[in-house]
Amino acid sequence: MSIALDIHITEKRYGDRAVLRDVSLQLQQGEIVSLIGASGCGKSSLLSIASGLDRDFQGQIKMDGNPLNGVSREIGFIFQEPRLFPWLTVAQNVAFDNDGDPRLVKRLLSEVGLDDHAAALPKHLSGGQAQRAAIARGLFTQPRVLLLDEPFSAVDAFTRMKLQDLLLRIAHEHRLTVLLVTHDIDEALYLSDRVVLLDGTAAPALTEFHPAPSPRKRGDIGAAELKAAILDSLHV
């Protein structure tokens, strides 16, 4: 398998404080990788750099071996909150990118289970529906890499499970390479081919864990053992 996304950050600073130092992470084509770590360890900063939104860092991001300068249609980004434009309907939000194919909207809304809500305004959606619409918008540019920053943290447990299964299905159908930042170790172990524990300025900055091969079940015994190992690494 080839490397879809190659992240190498020599240093990322906020003023005098370095949040990431000597972090290298490669994502194989079609791989789902979860990034976990304590608050403030640099997870979201890494994701922002990988998306091209943050260019104020030392290092390099490569996609298929080519350096990435700024945001790209090949990389979709799902934020922690849906961040839908409240004055646009669900369909208009999904098709926010002018360069996308408008015919995709219907198919994407169907994929995320929002067929009947194309004309609805965001204020009429539940938290889970709004996040589904955000996922559809993230897929509208037909990206090959999808970055997600704690995308299910604001929804209840039942909705979260549904959204996790939706993400797995979509990642498989669209052959996406996924980098997911999460605080939820169970979520990381259920969704990911690889779980990476980040401590942005420690050495080594990354520690890796490998859940059982897909398809996985929730609450596997192996997952419980891995969770204990991860908690141990986090000194919890």
């Binding site: 700024g70 959606l125 539940s126 529906q129 549904k162």
Partner: protein
């Protein structure tokens, strides 16, 4: 098997929750008070006050030369109607429309420049904030000196009145746009013009419309100030004429017309605001039962 059942129950629960979220606004609409009830509620205070005034004046509690009865004011309005009242109303309305149009247009352009550019803010905002602090009447002598007593000083005074609320609404509205929405827009590589048109202006619209509404109401106030000083037509002129001829009924008739015209123009602005901001998920006040 049990895990399948649990997953199925979980799925049904989440579906029910999402359906409930869609039905909730419909349920809210069904229980909304009828519009006529709100209109009647709004009329309650003025009608009561008018009835009380009528009784107080007719019974001699209040001298009618100081406060004429509402029915006497209606007679005065009918009498004025036969002697060019529409011309006065038309003159004042046209002045407000022209002055507000000029002031609001300049305010939108300059407010947008200040909201969008830190350099424009540094250049313009301190001066505008200083000018905003000047009382409206302080402009009058200068405008009369520079522009004479024709239409120009009146329009400029009204434009000044309308300018500052709109300017503040536009500039602060743009600066108040949620940074997270702009971050989403940046993912789509929008140009500055597209970002302004597709994100900043729609997001700032609530503040802009509030500014326009306040600007329009100030335009009416400044129109009266302008017409009180030098005019031969208009509601401000009627006020001045009523005072000079000791006709409280004319003064009150002009005041009543100003209230009605102000309410109509504000109602139009409120309707535009309501229509343009139908997407807003805001508090609409508690319903009393």
């Amino acid at each position: 098997m049990s895990s399948q059942l649990a997953a199925s129950a979980t799925s049904a629960l989440a579906d029910a929750r999402e359906q409930k979220a869609i039905r909730a606004p419909q349920a809210a609409r069904n229980t909304t008070n009828p519009r006529w009830r709100r209109v009647l509620l709004g009329l309650l205070l003025p009608v009561t006050a008018l009835a009380a005034t009528e009784i107080a004046v007719r019974s001699g509690l209040i001298p009618s030369h100081l406060l004429p009865a509402p029915t006497q004011i209606l007679d005065t309005l009918a009498d004025l109607g036969a002697h060019g009242l529409l011309g006065h109303i038309g003159a004042s309305t046209l002045r407000v429309a022209a002055g507000f149009g000029i002031g609001a247009l300049l305010a939108v352009l300059l407010g947008a420049a200040v909201g969008l550019s830190r350099r424009a803010e540094a250049l313009l905002d301190p001066t505008f904030q200083a000018l905003r602090a000047i009382p409206s009447l302080a402009w009058v002598p200068l405008l009369l000196l520079w522009l004479g007593i024709d239409e120009a000083p009146k329009l400029v005074l009204i434009a000044i009145g309308a300018f500052f609320p709109v300017y503040m609404g536009v500039a602060s509205g743009i600066r108040g746009v949620d940074r997270k929405l702009i971050e989403v827009a940046r993912l789509y590589r929008l140009s500055n013009i597209a970002l302004t048109r597709r994100v900043l202006l729609p997001a700032a619209l609530p503040s802009i419309l509030t500014g326009l509404r306040n600007g329009l109401s100030l335009a009416w106030m400044f129109m009266v100030a302008a017409e009180l000083i030098a005019a031969s037509r208009g509601l401000g002129y009627l006020l001045s004429d009523g005072r000079e001829t000791s006709r409280a009924d004319i003064v009150l008739a002009a005041i009543a017309l100003l209230a009605i015209l102000g309410k109509i123009s504000d109602g139009i602005m409120a309707a535009i605001e309501h229509r343009c901001l139908a997407w807003r998920d805001s508090y609409e006040g508690a319903q009393s039962r």
